[in-house]
């Protein structure tokens, strides 16, 4: 296959459910502030579930960025890998968890489960309806982005912090407008 992605960084969550959008907010911040090396793709997957299969099954390694129910106060950083991933997507991710479970099960069923799946996230305080995150979780987003950057570096794909924002093409202009509209 020619269109393989070495590392897919996929934000998950619902941006109109407050802290559930933490992972999406982190992805947009990452893309705004860093240049990603060749082979790395960072995308806002929302709650699309199975529709994300074409992205996941062409990736060698996947970093899912999400809100995760876990011990610890809101904003606590969480990392899940290996055998812990499957139970986590069934039990610990936020409301869209079933879609994520279907996504990973689907990749497995067609024999294209990525070589490595890592979940990075923060503990939500609220997943109530609303735009924007609670203060504790919003404050944890820069740290979450740092974790993604470190993880990419450890995989051999270090992102480079951008000095100033670059000229965007038309597609990015729309994406930027939508992201700003959604408070990301």
């Amino acid at each position: 296959m020619t269109d393989r992605t070495a590392v897919l960084v996929l934000g998950l969550g619902n941006v109109v459910c407050t802290d559930d959008g933490a992972g999406i907010a982190a992805i947009h911040k990452l893309v705004r502030e860093y240049d990603l090396p060749e082979g790395v793709e960072a995308l806002d997957g929302g709650t699309l579930g199975l529709s994300l299969l074409p992205l996941v099954d062409r990736a060698d390694q996947v970093i899912l960025v999400d809100a995760i129910r876990a011990a610890g106060p809101p904003g606590t950083q969480v990392r899940i890998e290996g055998d812990e991933v499957a139970p986590a997507v069934y039990e610990r991710l936020s409301p869209h968890q079933i879609g994520v479970a279907d996504l990973l099960a689907g990749a497995s069923l067609i024999d294209r489960y990525p070589d490595r799946v890592i979940i990075l996230g923060v503990v939500p305080e609220s997943v109530d309806l609303g735009l924007g995150r609670t203060p504790a979780v919003e404050a944890s987003i820069p740290g979450l982005v740092e974790r993604v950057v470190e993880e990419l570096a450890a995989l051999g794909y270090p992102p480079v912090r951008r000095v100033r924002s670059e000229q965007h093409d038309e597609g990015n202009r729309i994406t930027d407008h939508v992201a700003r509209t959604l408070g990301l």
């Binding site: 806002d44 579930g49 199975l50 074409p54 479970a101 309806l129």
Partner: protein
Amino acid sequence: MTHIVVDPVTRIEGHLRIEAEVDGGKVANAWSSSTMFRGIEIILQGRDPRDAWAFTQRICGVCTTVHAIASIRAVEDAIGAKPPPNARLLRNLIIASQCIQDHVIHFYHLHALDWVDIVSALEADPHETSALAQSISDWPKSSATYFKGIQDRVKSLVERGQLGPFANAYWGHSAYKLPAAANLMAVAHYLEALEWQREFIKIHAILGGKNPHLQSFLVGGMATPVDPDAQASLNIHTIAHFKKLIAGAQEFVSQVYVPDLLAVASFYKDWAGYGAGVGNYMVYGEYPLDDEPSPELYIPSGVIRNRDISKVEEFDPSKITEQITHSWYDYEGGDGQALHPSEGETSPNYTGPEPPYQRLDTSRKYSWLKSPRYDGVPMEVGPLSRMLVSYVRGHEKVQGLVNHVLGTLGVGPEALFSTLGRVAARGIETQVLVDKIGDFVDDLASNMGSGELRIHDNSKWEPSTWPDDCTGAGFHEAPRGALGHWVRVQDGKIARYQCVVPSTWNAGPRDSGGMPGPYEAALVGTPVADPEQPIEILRTVHSFDPCMACGVHVVDSGGREVTRVKVR
């Protein structure tokens, strides 16, 4: 009398709870409750109406395009923007491809496991499966070796305990009627459908770039440039790519989906006698074929009452109301009101039991869904409604396919009013759409050829061109049925917004007169062999293709149990 609670109903998006009373092996009474609050309307107030689609797109992970389409149509209706022909064609292409993909996923990945026993498939003789497959279709993947390979793959998943979506079903239940060979064929096609849908939906990627959320929606048109010679736009190469994907879809639907549907249905003909429901069917209509104010629609609008297929009424949007007698909301003018969505209110007021709870008090409020009514009566929406209205209106393609399916199964038109009828109608619609969608691409190509490249009406883009106070409605046939958005724009901002979604029509609770909603009515009479394993309830509920995620928000945050059936 046994009281059954199925909560959550699995293999759906979102959170649905069914309570049923079973008497003498049949459902005597049923209640449908959404335990999620939907309130996107509240977020939209005060915002720029041109951005509304970006919010409504995030309501649901399954239906992102449908809420965007309904939203831009509602806003265009309010401000008077007129999308040019290319925008209409691009939207038709998006809508039809979404519907085709959704129906295939529903049949194989959400609904098939109610009819297909995976465990039995492991015991099948691959040679028998091969003979069966070759007897019903020319689809090339049909050798005994191929089916043996599939069987081994699933066996190894089972042995490793990685059942994934195959876990938590009622394997071995006496209600499964397919022979082992047919079960194995269906499992193979389950996996093929998974591959196929990921390929087909590239249509959206071509239209919207890499972003998983299609972002080319625009009030007044579309943001997808159309130019035969330009690189970053729809051009002759993308047209060719569309045609290839559509040809693949036609093959898959006519050689796999429809033959499978007929094969499975032939073993479950008794289900043509269950699940009829309210017997009223409503369609807003879809796929405008011209750019007139009231365009001809490829799938026509209309209303059928009391299963009377001798006539179709014209659909009149002013007859839609929503009641909240049994819904956790307040209306300013009192809970007894029936409000038109343009005057709709979203004031949540949860008065149900503190979760986790055993029983809902269904004599009071018991759902986060409102009760939509048309001219005061409940309406079923979705593929069955669409195929019925098209059939009665004389839609040649639909009539031909419906008659073919009825003839093959040896049943009359009355069989359509049932759980099985709903499943069949979805397959028929998929075939109708894969045979039509290429026309939208051809028309785009022909516009390109004649130099018609407009994609947007920007004459109404600036808020200064809008009336100070205006209202609009956006109607759309989503895969699951009639979807409406209503908007009021005052001084350039959204003053009021209401969505009435298909699953609210179908899954809503009883109304002020105690009249059940479509799920509730359809479940009555459904047989239940074993109250501990109510697979029959899932069959009827899943036949509607529930999608409750428009609710956005899970109230019960206590960790989702994979499935929970309570019998008392």
